[in-house]
């Protein structure tokens, strides 16, 4: 009984998956346009709910922007033209992957600079430590004193 229920649920689950996969993005639209809209809007941020892409967002503005992008695709604009249309209005912030410009150098290269800086500090620290624990051979005077001390302590123990 349990097994039958499990199989039933499994079938149900996968049926849901395939159904979702087969569902057209929006009915009555050119699939090629919709595909470009999908890939493009995954790169774009919804400004209302900032951690969602334009592709996922249900916000009113996101719908309007998708409509705008769809129309521009239909009008034969290139992806680059559409992106510059949006950045002129909303700024670089609308891009999930901001372009490499002087203002975004810190964003793009900062982590690598920090990584390299951290490695440099780490290696210098390790070398410093290694230097400070290198063995120095004893001078003649020191070894003489050492054997003297050893001799005296062993003598005491015997006594």
């Amino acid at each position: 009984m349990k097994r039958a229920l499990f199989v039933f649920l499994l079938v149900f689950l996968f049926a849901g998956f395939t159904a979702a996969k087969d569902a057209p993005p929006t009915s009555g639209e050119d699939p090629a346009v919709e595909k470009r809209l999908q890939t493009l809007s995954k790169e774009l941020r919804c400004l209302v709910c900032q951690n969602e892409t334009l592709a996922d967002s249900q916000a009113g503005l996101a719908e309007d922007l998708r409509r705008e992008v769809r129309e521009q695709i239909k009008a034969g604009k290139t992806d680059q033209e559409i992106i510059s249309f949006l950045t002129q209005r909303y700024g670089q912030f609308i891009l999930y992957r901001p372009q490499v410009t002087p203002t975004t150098y810190l964003l793009w290269f900062g982590p690598f600079v920090l990584l390299i800086g951290g490695l440099v500090i780490l290696f210098r620290y390790i070398r410093q430590r290694r230097d400070s624990i290198t063995e120095k051979p004893l001078t003649n005077e020191e070894s003489r004193r050492a054997s003297e001390l050893l001799a005296s302590t062993s003598g005491e123990q015997k006594a």
């Binding site: 209302v48 503005l61 909303y90 700024g91």
Partner: protein, 178 residues
């Protein structure tokens, strides 16, 4: 001594950066439209759709464009202040009625009063996209040459009005009269 000071200083710098980051509102995205020409538009007027209003008509004047909608809750908070500012006559305030139903918008103005010289109806939100609107209310100060000089995202507060908008309007008018 310096050995201990360096990490401390680095830590303090980090703390300052994070403190500034915490205080900033992530919803305030710097607009690329500041000091750019206000996008041209021509839209039907809300109260008389047979007439249009275009940004070009405002050439030679300093004016304020306020994006509002009857469904926008924060606009309701901002509204009494706008009425007060409109009464002061410091600067003409025009409305951009954003993605609203005409009857709702008219009822809203009827209930709460109308601070706008006139409102333009942007029913499908296209003009708002040109202006980079992403959260009503938003307010723009546009100068005589049709350049956007200031943008407020979110409601205009008494602070913003008296410290940012009003001095800017006065300055622009002074420059224009020279």
């Amino acid at each position: 001594m310096a050995k201990y000071l360096i990490p401390l200083v680095l830590f303090m710098v980090l703390v300052v950066f994070l403190a500034i980051g915490l205080k900033r509102d992530p919803h305030e995205v710097p607009s690329p439209l500041i000091n750019k020409a206000a996008p041209a538009f021509s839209l039907p007027q809300l109260k008389d759709p047979s007439r249009t209003f275009s940004a070009a008509e405002m050439r030679g004047k300093v004016w304020v464009l306020n994006v509002w909608a009857s469904w926008c809750i924060t606009c309701r908070d901002e509204h009494p202040l706008l009425i007060e500012y409109a009464k002061s006559g410091a600067v003409p305030i025009y409305g951009l009625n954003y993605k609203d139903k005409r009857e709702d918008a008219l009822a809203w103005l009827g209930d709460l009063g109308d601070p706008y010289v006139l409102s333009a109806a942007d029913e499908d939100g296209r003009v708002a996209i040109d202006y980079g609107v992403y959260g009503a209310p938003e307010t723009y100060v546009i100068d005589q040459a049709g350049t956007i000089r200031f943008k407020q995202i979110g409601p205009v507060t008494p602070d913003v009005w008296s410290k940012e908008i009003l001095p800017l309007v006065q300055e622009l008018n002074r420059q224009g009269n020279r």
